[in-house]
């Protein structure tokens, strides 16, 4: 595996982990950012591929806002 390919794979892994942590610890901010990006990509006049990507990126309606889902919960029956 070439160094360039290794760097690319590492970049994707680091990005995915960062996004997952943002979603966990800053759910509202992450939801808003995802929504903004999806609306930006879906605007009229954008190429069809970008609009499809925007549609795919559109976040679910409600963001989780409670402490549940912030990551530390260890047993919790209430946290789903």
């Amino acid at each position: 595996m070439s160094p360039l390919l290794q760097t690319l794979v590492v970049a994707v892994i680091v990005l995915a982990c960062t996004l997952s942590l943002l979603r966990r610890f800053l759910p509202r901010l992450s939801w808003q950012s995802q929504a903004r990006l999806s609306y930006f990509l879906e605007r009229e006049g954008r190429p069809a591929a970008l609009r499809r990507l925007g549609l795919a990126l559109r976040p679910p309606i409600a963001a989780s806002a409670s402490a549940c889902g912030t990551g530390g919960c260890n047993t919790c029956q209430g946290c789903k």
Binding site: P3, V14, F25, T70, N74, T75, G78
Partner: protein
């Protein structure tokens, strides 16, 4: 056929959650003490006749006159007054067949609501074993509602109930002479439909004579807890070594298969050094929970709450705080949520504020790592193991600190709570192996989910911050010294130097804020990246820190973890449960101050003694 909404309702500890699990195939926590369920839970199942049934598992309540937030949920759902919650089509009143005198009172109270109901006589196997005879037909006739027998922990224990749900919804029972004294009505019901043996529980009495003894009871409780921690260290050792060996072999072969480069470093120094080190502690965690779950199921824990009521009262708490504090040994979050069963708001707040001091399972990897590295594995008095003794001492330190903090908080607030403990002592029973297995599987799943979720993400991010920016041309120090994490660690070092923490520990403290175990993964990654060569990088973390740290530093870090509120989720839950940023801020502030102060004293004192 339309979906049927049913609600499982009844006194605490009558087996509602076990029945819920039996009906829906869910895996909610079951224990032999009151107050396990503090909020409504929902599940779905389909009867053999094809009917969809939506089941609500409600918190246990002794009366519709709610005295705590969890009882209020039950009252509101039963009355159809909870916003957004449809009125149940059928109330399934679950009662403990071995304790009908207490449980039927609530059934009669529920009957006054005039809603369709049926009665599930749970724990019928135990009732029969004790010689309790229940005339189901007579009970049915007297109550005016269908009565079915259930054994929620048995595979086919809910068949009669499911068959009943397949049919038409029974009509609401007639209130009849329901406005009199409920206790008198229960007595009349029992006289007509139930035959009790002369002594229902000779074994319970015999055991309680010792286990609830004001002196021997406490001695036995201390011995039980002590043995648990001894066992965690001695029995889990071989399993931990085997797991560590497998992880090491896998890490070496994976790393060897990749050419030199960033991906290899991520796999070797990040994933295997970091995550692998945390994974090694799975046997300890499972062993600890085997004991906790077995004690929960046996019915011993409410006795422990009863025994500890007096010491807890001295600290300004009540025995009611025991269950939330005990739950906090697994994780502070369910513990804080369990405080909903405490009626007095001041007692509840104090319990919430001290719950993070209980030693949650996430601290176990940190404790085990440091004890393994610095405390010699030697016998004490020929029977005990020194490492186990230290672990026990750390748990005791958490408990004693919580009591001390509660005392100070109550004194500062000039408040005195209601010190009345009303507690139902369930019968002793042998732990059900299936429930024990489910509980352990749940623990393992939660741990693995954390390892492959938040701990993985944080470890990868920490590896990235510890590897970039790359060192300049001609750099002589390890790459981590030039990285962002290295710089942050060096920047924090002066603040933590008085308590003996080096820059590597300072780096580990930051991701440890998200989950305590990540501190172990972070230390492993930082030391792997600081290594001079590959052979050193794949060395186990324990000998590396043993060579690099002083005993004073190790003890200081152990003490830090007894106190520090290093879990953002706990703080978030404190905010949610108290609805106050002030209380969340207070908890964070006092716990950090306590951690720093205790570590400072420990470090300076040990350094002085060693000099």
């Amino acid at each position: 056929m339309s979906a049927l909404n049913i609600a499982l309702v009844g006194n605490p500890n009558c087996g509602k959650t076990a029945l819920f699990n039996r009906l829906t195939g869910s895996r909610q926590k079951v224990a032999n003490y009151a107050g396990v369920t503090v909020e409504r839970k929902e599940g779905l199942f389909r009867t053999p006749g094809g009917r969809s049934v939506r089941v609500l598992d409600l918190p246990g309540a002794y009366s519709l006159d709610a005295t705590s937030p969890d009882e209020a949920i039950t009252r509101d759902v039963c009355r159809g007054a909870l916003p957004g919650e449809p009125v149940p089509d059928l109330l399934v009143c679950v009662v403990d067949a071995t304790n009908l005198r207490l449980h039927l009172r609530f059934v009669l109270e529920l009957r006054r609501l005039g809603r369709p109901m049926l009665l599930a006589l749970n724990l019928m196997d135990q009732a029969r074993r004790r010689g309790i005879t229940i005339d189901v037909a007579a009970l049915q006739a007297r109550l005016g509602m269908p009565v079915v027998e259930t054994v929620a922990v048995k595979r086919d224990g809910a068949e009669a109930l499911v068959a009943m749900l397949d049919g038409a919804v029974p009509p609401a029972p007639e209130a009849g002479e329901d406005h009199g004294d409920l206790h008198a009505q229960v007595s009349a019901l029992l006289a007509e439909a139930v035959t009790m043996p002369e002594r229902t529980s000779r074994l319970d009495e015999r055991l309680d004579r010792w286990l609830l003894h004001p002196v021997w009871g406490l001695v036995i409780l201390a011995a039980v807890m002590f043995l648990v921690f001894q066992a965690v260290f001695s029995w889990a050792g071989p399993l931990q070594d085997t797991l560590a060996g497998w992880i090491s072999v896998l890490g070496e072969s994976m790393g060897g298969a990749l050419p030199d480069g960033p991906l290899r470093s991520l796999v070797q120094d990040g994933l295997f050094a970091g995550l692998g080190t945390v994974m090694e502690f799975l046997p300890q965690i499972l062993l600890l929970f085997t004991f906790i779950l077995a004690l929960e199921e046996s019915g011993y824990l409410p006795r422990a709450a009863f025994l500890l009521d007096r010491p807890m009262r001295a600290a300004g708490l009540t025995g009611r705080s025991f269950i939330p504090l005990l739950s906090s040994f697994a994780c502070a979050i369910p513990g804080i949520m369990a405080t909903r069963s405490i009626q007095d708001p001041r007692d509840r707040l104090t319990t919430i504020l001290v719950a993070p001091l209980m030693t949650c399972s996430a601290r176990l990897p940190v404790y085990t790592l440091l004890i393994g590295a610095f405390i010699p594995d030697q016998p004490v008095w020929g029977v005990f193991n020194l490492q186990g003794l230290v672990l026990f001492a750390l748990y005791v330190a958490g408990i004693v600190s919580a009591m001390g903090a509660a005392w100070v908080i109550q004194k500062l607030r000039h408040t005195e709570g209601e010190h009345v403990l009303l507690l139902e002592l369930p019968s002793y029973r042998l732990p059900n192996l299936l429930d024990l297995g489910i509980g352990l599987w749940e623990r393992a799943r939660i741990f693995l989910r954390r390892v492959t979720g938040i701990i993985l993400s944080l470890t990868v991010l920490l590896w990235f911050l510890s590897s970039y920016p790359a060192p300049p041309e001609g750099a002589t120090l390890p790459a981590i010294d030039y990285s962002l994490a290295g710089r942050i660690g060096r920047w924090m070092e002066p603040l933590f130097a008085p308590i003996g923490f080096n820059w590597q520990i300072c780096i580990a403290l930051i991701p440890g804020l998200a989950a305590r175990e990540v501190a172990v993964a972070a230390l492993a990654t930082v030391y792997a990246l600081s290594a001079a060569n590959d052979a050193e990088a794949i060395t186990s973390l324990s000998p590396l820190i043993a060579a690099d740290w002083s005993l004073a530093t190790a003890l200081s870090l152990l003490v830090w973890y007894v106190y520090a509120p290093q879990c953002l989720s706990t703080i978030a839950v404190i905010k949610r449960e108290t609805n106050s940023w002030k209380q969340a801020g207070f908890a964070t502030g006092y716990l950090f101050a306590l951690a720093y102060l205790a570590s400072l004293v420990t470090y300076q004192l040990t350094a002085w003694l060693m000099s």
